[in-house]
């Protein structure tokens, strides 16, 4: 290792054998690094070796100094030229016309270095206004000297704006707009993979050098919104995969969704989008799904094979060697597994110090870091994404992925779907274990982001599904879209004003409320034992809660009721604040309930009449009665399918009849209970009588005893006296 001392102070160490090809500086002071950089820009083009040095230097300078400071250093060197560079030319004024003047030549070198910086890293200049100002100062200095030729070199007007990097919004893609389904069930796996890749790349390319650096140095996501957003997308996707699967009720349905996602993975592999691949495979192999033995038994062997292959590919074994090998073989567009490369950055940063030998910049470390960061920043600049974005689909997906469940909630859902068998793990407790979410770093998306996502999604949904452009979504249309959201409420909850149609505002309101409050809440309920004074039914099995006292368990937060043995199986989110609204929906004993129903009935009748009037005036052909009957029948069926639920609007006779049957049933049960109670009362009365007579006897005995004692005492006293 060569050590060069400058004015008695150690300022540069050279490599004996360079770690990174072309970089032979081991360590140096910042000034010395800048000087070396400037020296490289002779009259000729950069040779390979010096180009490598300059590339590393300009890419990495932000690790140890601000860009603004670097620009200022160039200005200082420029202004100091007259003193530091000796000019032997006779009578030289060091003017721009003196081409042979070493001072002037040095100035040219400085400007060419700045030119190289602008060309290689335009994003530094676009994102950093102090740097732009400093560069403008240099430009003015050049103009003042009449150096117009050099002024052109440091011109910033050609730097692209990079607006997309600055703000978090998604730039509008090509006008290309195919008509595709926004519905998960109809969506082709390839299409889904393409759109996810588009979303992923948008998030990935926004991560700036300084974001990587801050994460490597602080190991925290604080004040690192871009990286946080990308990680949020990753986790949201994993959760969405799990929730989409767990929202299905039968093992076969769940297996079908797994197969679908496994096909999505295949396409992601073809697209070389390893980050999304990791998120989906991570979701599919998550412990909450891996334990579903019934579901896994339904998986076709091909899906099992695909999943095995991908698990192998993404395995952390041997420091992710399988992934690294494949990743390096991929050319053109690719998205790396961000986590793996962040890990490398952190390890390298931990292992090597920033400064060595006192205050020298550890340039070998910079060269090593540059190998990773250069690759990442290069990939961010790729413009030809191999996928076409469909903004409607992207917007819908984006909102779907904003879900924010905890690991525990998903695991509990998994337990509810396929409860633990007694054979599989006898030692584990049957009650779900509570886990705190230990990844506290990623905060849920902020309300503004959610509002924006909701807005975009709703616009997209209406654009594609509001076929008659009346700005309302009908019930059938709604059912189709609801498939994308694992735990969406029924049509009737969204239809807040109960007009049988969902308006844009209703949909927005619902999703914003759902995202901000409810979806973040859990499947966990605060159940406590409760005594009911009117017949109440279980939310899970819809059976009556039997008994006289403590018939069942009620959730303190959302007031749903369940049997003791059903309460752990309830798969319904706990919606806080619903308590006040949620009356015991199935029981209708109270007067106030009757009132609400009659009120509702009146309103519904009014609605119907209005509808009839409107229809008959529109369509006088007379054939509409049949049509309407049909419609009514359809509606009836829909109502039946949905089952009784809170806040629904019972306007159909059929349904009312159902309700009546149920209440009849409840009445009969009550009568039976009543006679039972009467019998008990009689028994109790008998007992009371017996006890009363006992008391009489006891009282007599006691009084006799006391009197005897008193007599005895009297006699004692008398004898003593």
């Amino acid at each position: 290792m060569q050590v060069v001392a400058h004015r008695g102070v150690l300022c540069v160490m050279e490599e004996e054998k360079s770690v990174v090809v072309g970089v032979c500086i081991r360590a140096a002071t910042p000034d010395r690094l800048i000087q070396i950089c400037v020296e490289n820009f002779g009259p000729d083009e950069l040779d390979e070796q010096s180009e490598e040095y300059c590339r590393v230097f300009f890419l990495m300078h932000q690790w140890f100094m601000k860009s603004e400071e670097l620009a200022q250093a160039f200005i200082d060197f420029y202004q100091g030229c007259d003193e530091t560079i000796t000019c032997d030319l006779p009578d030289c004024q060091h003017l721009p016309i003196n081409d042979d003047c070493p001072v002037q030549q040095y100035k040219v070198k400085i400007c060419r270095a700045v030119r190289y910086w602008i060309q290689q890293n335009p994003v530094h200049f676009a994102m950093d206004s102090p740097l732009r100002k400093a560069t403008d100062r240099l430009g003015q200095l050049l103009l003042a000297e009449g150096n117009t030729k050099l002024k052109q070199l440091v011109d910033l007007s050609q730097v692209p704006s990079y607006d997309w990097m600055r703000n978090m919004s998604v730039r509008n893609p090509s006008n290309h707009n195919r008509k595709v389904s926004l519905v998960f069930n109809h969506l082709e796996p390839e299409e889904l993979a393409d759109q996810l890749t588009y979303l992923e790349y948008k998030a990935f390319r926004r991560i700036h050098f300084s974001d990587y650096k801050n994460y490597a140095v602080t190991a925290s996501l604080k004040e690192n919104p871009k990286l946080e957003r990308s990680i949020g997308l990753f986790n949201g996707l994993s959760q969405w995969v799990q929730c989409m699967i767990l929202s299905k009720t039968t093992p076969q349905q769940r297996a079908d969704v797994i197969t679908k996602f496994s096909n999505v993975s295949k396409r992601l592999r073809v697209l070389q989008n390893f980050n999304t691949l990791m998120a989906i495979v991570g979701g599919l192999t998550h412990s909450a799904l891996a334990r579903l033995s019934k579901t896994n038994a339904c998986l076709p062997s091909e899906t099992q094979k695909t999943l095995m292959e991908f698990t192998e590919l993404l395995s952390s074994n041997n420091n992710f060697s399988n992934y690294r090998k494949v990743y390096h073989q991929c050319v053109d567009f690719k998205i790396p597994i961000l986590g793996v490369h962040l890990k490398d950055l952190i390890s390298l940063h931990t292992a090597l110090p920033d400064r060595v030998e006192g205050n020298l910049i550890n340039f070998r470390k910079m060269a090593q870091l540059s190998l990773m960061l250069q690759e990442l920043t290069r990939l961010q600049r790729v413009d030809n994404i191999p996928v076409d974005a469909n903004m409607d689909l992207v917007n819908t997906l984006r909102l779907s992925l904003d879900l924010n469940y905890t690991e525990d909630e998903i695991y509990e859902l998994s337990l509810a779907r396929e409860p633990r068998g007694s054979v599989s793990s006898p030692t584990t407790p049957t009650k779900p274990v509570m886990f705190a979410d230990w990844i506290s770093g990623v905060s849920p998306p902020d309300p503004n982001t959610i509002n924006k996502h909701v807005h975009d999604m709703v616009e997209a949904v209406f654009k594609n599904y509001d076929h008659d452009k009346d700005r309302f979504i009908s019930h059938a249309e709604f059912e189709a879209i609801a498939g994308n959201f694992p735990f969406i409420d029924s049509f009737y909850v969204l239809d807040a004003d109960k007009d049988g149609m969902i308006s844009k505002d209703e949909m927005k309101t619902y999703f914003i409320r759902a995202n901000c409050h409810a979806l973040r809440n859990s499947f966990k309920h605060a159940f406590h034992e409760t005594t009911y004074f009117k017949p109440t039914f279980c939310i899970h099995c819809t059976g009556l809660l039997w008994g006289i006292i403590k018939q069942g368990w009620k959730c303190k937060e959302c007031s749903i009721n369940a049997h003791k043995h059903c309460k752990d199986l309830v798969v319904m989110e706990c919606r806080k604040g619903m308590a006040a609204k949620r009356t015991d929906s199935i029981s209708n004993g109270s007067v106030s309930n009757d009132l609400t129903y009659s009120a509702k009935r009146k309103i519904s009748q009014r609605h119907k009449q209005a509808q009839l009037l409107a229809q008959s005036s529109e369509n006088k052909a007379g054939s509409n009665t049949g049509m309407q009957n049909n419609q009514n029948n359809q509606k009836d069926q829909v109502f039946q399918d949905d089952g009784p639920r809170e806040g629904e609007f019972y306007e159909e006779q059929h349904l009312l009849y159902d309700r009546w049957l149920k209440s009849e049933e409840a009445r009969e049960q009550l009568i039976a209970e009543n006679s039972q109670l009467r019998a008990r009362l009689e028994v109790a009365n008998d007992q009371i009588l017996i006890l009363k007579s006992h008391i009489g006897v006891i009282r007599q005995n006691t009084i006799a005893f006391i009197l005897e004692q008193m007599d005895a005492l009297h006699m004692q006293r008398d004898s003593e006296v």
Partner: protein
């Protein structure tokens, strides 16, 4: 020679990397490349039996929730690290054992609890007694380390090998495999 897969877990910033790097490279840290697989393999002799450790440092990936399950599936022994200077990091790892059990599907898992940054004793927020209480509750050893001064660094990995020797896990952990 026996091979062991060890996973180092814990919140961000507790010094997992520092601990791992110190162990695998000792004092010699002139040249370092975290991307090559050999870097995380190290031969050590425990109770006069030579063994090879393959260490997975999870630093930087703490926030990627679904990667954690994959790590746990792959690992045989677990080094669970918190920083004695941050109570939060101690709270974070309290659920870790449950999570590993959930993924592995078995109760007896070789692990060791580690309180790092012992050199910063004046900034201590987690008393030693709390660390040992949790370790006792988990039924695993507890060590306080300093990656900076290399205090107890090798001991952590020797202990985890001993743990793996006393409760050997099945090669492809538990009933939680997808196939």
């Amino acid at each position: 020679m026996k091979e062991y897969k060890v996973v180092v877990l814990g919140s961000g910033g507790v010094g997992k990397s520092a601990l791992t790097v110190k162990f695998v490279s000792g004092t010699f840290m002139e040249k370092y490349d975290p991307t090559i697989e050999d870097f995380y393999r190290k031969e050590i002799e425990v109770d006069s039996a030579p063994s090879v450790l393959e260490i997975l440092d999870t630093a930087g990936t703490e926030q990627f929730a679904s990667m954690r399950d994959l790590y746990i599936k792959n690992g045989q022994g677990f080094v669970i690290v918190f920083s004695i200077t941050s109570l939060q990091t101690f709270q974070d790892i309290k659920t870790m054992r449950e999570q590993i059990i959930r993924v592995k599907g078995i109760e007896k898992i070789p692990m060791i609890l580690v309180g790092n940054k012992a050199d910063l004793d004046q900034q201590r927020e987690v008393p030693s007694s709390e660390g040992s209480a949790l370790a006792q509750f988990w039924g695993c050893p507890f060590l306080e380390t300093s990656a900076k001064s290399t205090q107890n660094v090798n001991e952590v990995f020797i202990e985890i090998v001993r743990e793996m020797n006393t409760s050997p896990m099945k090669e492809k952990g538990g009933c939680c495999q997808i196939l």
